[in-house]
Structure formats: C-alpha cells, structure tokens
Amino acid sequence: MSTLSTLKQPASLPAHLTQTSVGKKILTAVTGFIAFGFVFGHMVGNLQVLIGQDQYNTYAETLQGLGALLWVIRGFLLLAFGIHIWLGIQLKLENWAARPVAYKNETTQQASLASRTMIWTGLIVVSFVIYHLLHFTVRTTNPEYADLTDSLGRVDVHSMVVLGFSSYLISAFYLLSVGLLCYHLSHGVASMFQSLGLNSPKWQKRLDVLAWLAAIVLFAGYAAVPVAVMLKLVSLPGGGI
C-alpha cells in the first residue's frame, strides 16, 4: 500500500495530538473537559460558603491538608489550562491565516455567537483567573486576608470571601467573568463532544441543550455566592460590615 501519501506524519501519540488539526482539536476538548471538571468541582466547593463559616473553613482546611497532593493537582490543572490556552490561540491563528481574503458580503448560516467568540471569552477568562488567584489564593492584592482567623484558630476563608465580595466592583467583575466563562461553555460543552467524535444527528440538538443547561447551572452556582453576600444573606460572624 505504498500508494498512500508519503508526507511525513507524526510518530507518536503526543505528536499526533499536538501537530495535526484533528489531534489538536481532540487535545483542546480533553483539556477543556478537565477545565470543565475543575470549574464544576470548584462551584460545589464554593457553595459551602452559603452553609456557614464552620463548614467552609473546614472544607478549606481539608484542601490545604492535602499537602503535596494539592500541588500535584494544581500542577495538573495548570498544565491542562496551559495546553488549552496554547492550542486555543494556535488554532485561532491558523484559522485566520486559512482565509487571507475576507468576503465582501459575509453571512453566517447557523454558527452561534458563543462559538464565534471562543477566543475572546477564553482570553477574558484567563485574565480574570489571574486576578482571582492574586486576590484569594496568593492574596497579593489583599495581604491582610492572611491574618483572618476563626474561633478555632483556622485561616478564615469564609470571612475573606465575604469581605472580598462586599465590594460591588469586585462582585460585578466576578459576575461578568463567570458569565463569559459560562457563555464559553454554552458552545464548549457541545463542541467538546463533537471534537471527541461523540456526536450524531440524533444527539446534536441534545448536546446543545446539555451545554446550555451546564452553562446555566454553573452560572447560578457561581453567582449565588457574591449575590448572597451583597444581599447580606451571608455575612461576617459578628454581623460585621
């Protein structure tokens, strides 16, 4: 069968996944799925703020108690995010290059706005994530958060969240970013199945619905925390602010 192409082809699975169009799409979907898994788990974790200070601080302490494993998980997530962003940018640049001359009269048949703005929603999400980490994890923007402790002497992340979201500006930026992330996923979740080859005419509509449901559930779950703080449904233990 020497009649088939003699073009040089990738020699290993990692090469297939990083050097070919179809491979890159598969890897974008896999890393997108990992990111989605994190985003979902993070939402469930966050919702414990609504239960109360003790519950949330216990949860935070459990995570911190993972020690080395926590760093392994962080490293894994960072790698997945890094690959997703890198491929997202690379695919977009290639796609722009593939149509050097634009149509004078361009129309859109059925592509959703969410699908056409993936790179922009993605890039805004990245910038939000960086700020978010500096705010609540590294606490560069608010070093005083590190001094908060609860009655058991634990780091009081519950109060940190309440204080953080007491600023309308921060809450508004948070809601906007989470909204864009969910918009990203309203296309991303359905797209991921197609990229992995898990689609059929029967499932296509259902996947679109599933993607929107996932986006709406995530948005509601994430928005609940700052909204609860702003409505004073959740407040500092002494009733402060």
Binding site: M1, T3, L4, S5, L7, K8, Q9, P10, L13, H16, L17, T20, S21, V22, G23, K24, K25, I26, L91, E94, N95, A97, A98, R99, P100, V101, A102, Y103, K104, N105, E106, T107, T108, Q109, Q110, A111, S115, R116, M118, H187, A190, S191, Q194, S195, L196, G197, L198, N199, S200, P201, Q204
Partner: protein, 248 residues
C-alpha cells in the same frame, strides 16, 4: 427580470481584484444562475469586455465543478442546491446580487470567480481510495454489509467535492469534505483494511494544504448541496484517534 450584479473580477492570481457592477437585463426566472451569467457574458462580449470567468461542467448538480459565493452563501441561499441548479425565480426583480469566488488560502483565485481546488485532488490522492487488489467483480451478496453501515457510507459518498464547505467555513476548514471521504470508506469492509493509514494520510495532506481547523460552527453542513452532516467529522475524529493510537 432585471438584476444588478456585483461581481468579483480579478485578472490573474497576482491581481488584487475588485467588485464590478453589471446589469443583467431580461432574465427569465426559469434560467439557472449559470445561464443568467451566460446571458450577461454574451452581452459583455458584444461590448468588447472580457467575459466573467466561472467554473461549470455538468450543470445538473452532480459533478461539483460549479462554485460561487452568492450573496454571502456558497451556491446561494437555496438549501441543498448547487449553483447550476439554482433558479432565478428565487431572486427578486431589481435585486442586487453579490457574486464572489470561494475564499480560502488553499483555494487560490486563478481568474475572476475561478479558484484552484486541486488541494482536494491531492487529499484524495493521499488516501481517498481502496488499494486492496480485489480481483474480479465479486457476487453482489458475497460480502454482507449491514443496511445501517451501507446507508452511512452512501450518505457520505454523496459528497461531490465542490468545496462549498471550505467556502462557508469561517476557518476555511476542509473537514466536512475529508470527513465524508474518510467515513465513506470506514463504514465498509473494503475500506476498513486501510482505515488507519487513510485517516492519517488524508488528515496530513489536508493540514499541509493550509486549510483551517474545524471549530464546530457547522456552517458547512448548512450550505452543503448534498446535505452531508457534521457526523462525518465526528467519525473522522474517531478514525483519526484510532489511527494515532494504532501502530502501522
């Protein structure tokens, strides 16, 4: 009917090109879009103007040679219709119609509305065939094929390789075309023998031609004159993953 045409004119591959305005007068609504252009061209020749160059061959919707992006849609806005089968009755008297060539880096303009689609031929040459020596023609029922598989292969084989999918795709991706060709073989026992090699070879060739990457806009599916579904792209993705994880 009378129409205003805004047509892309470009002397050769190097020319920058521009939209020119022409009037199409006394067009019968029973004419096909290409016949309408024939009438305009006769008029242009009469005036000593270089006629508008466009691709066509069978004019019965089966060869995939005709092209054109009409009012922003490859083969026009009529569903499941090639340009040669598109009738003028779908346009309104006095309407302005934009006519542009298929746009993609991998489909360079040769002249006016004619583009070079030989990238598709090279993709087919890379793996769009069965190279197993089958000997004489076997008995029709010698190799039983489930109806469902045969149907899927036939649906994919309906692709006429016109390139409208590339023209419609905002990424100028050729994945609907390549997906159709890969699927057509992957569903049949004769094609399964070389499925891994085929998926690798055709995808490599597609990438080297400078087509974009599918981002699941599904614009291709909407314009395909043969209504090829994006499930063929999902199938190609599965085939490719299988090939990438198989030693060949």
């Amino acid at each position: 009917m009378n129409l205003i045409l805004k047509v892309w004119r470009q002397k050769d591959a190097r020319d920058k090109g521009r939209l020119e305005t022409y009037e199409a007068r006394n067009i019968s609504e029973h004419m096909s879009f290409l016949e309408m252009l024939d009438v305009v061209n006769e008029q242009l020749v009469g005036e000593g103007v270089d006629p508008i160059h466009f691709d066509h061959d069978c004019r019965e919707g089966i060869c995939g040679t005709c092209s054109l992006v009409i009012n922003g849609s490859p083969h026009g806005h009529q569903k499941a219709t090639t340009t040669c089968q598109l009738h003028m009755r779908h346009f309104k008297d006095g309407e302005t119609i934009y006519i542009e060539p298929f746009r993609a880096k991998a489909f360079p303009v040769i002249k006016d509305l004619v583009v070079d689609r030989s990238a598709f031929d090279r993709i087919m040459q890379a793996g769009g065939f069965v190279s197993v020596n089958t000997g004489g023609v076997p008995d029709a029922n010698a190799i039983p094929i489930p109806k469902e598989d045969a149907d899927k292969a036939m649906d994919a084989a309906a692709c006429i390789g016109c390139g409208a999918c590339v023209a419609a795709c905002k990424n100028a991706s050729a994945m609907l075309f390549v997906g159709a060709k890969v699927s057509q073989f992957a569903h049949l026992p004769q094609g399964k023998v070389e499925r891994e090699k085929r998926a690798r070879a055709m995808v490599s060739q597609m990438d080297s031609e400078g087509f974009g990457n599918c981002t699941n806009y599904y614009e291709c599916e909407a314009v395909c004159p043969k209504e090829i579904k994006v499930e063929v792209i999902a199938k190609m993705n599965r085939e490719y993953f299988r090939a990438a994880t198989t030693k060949i």
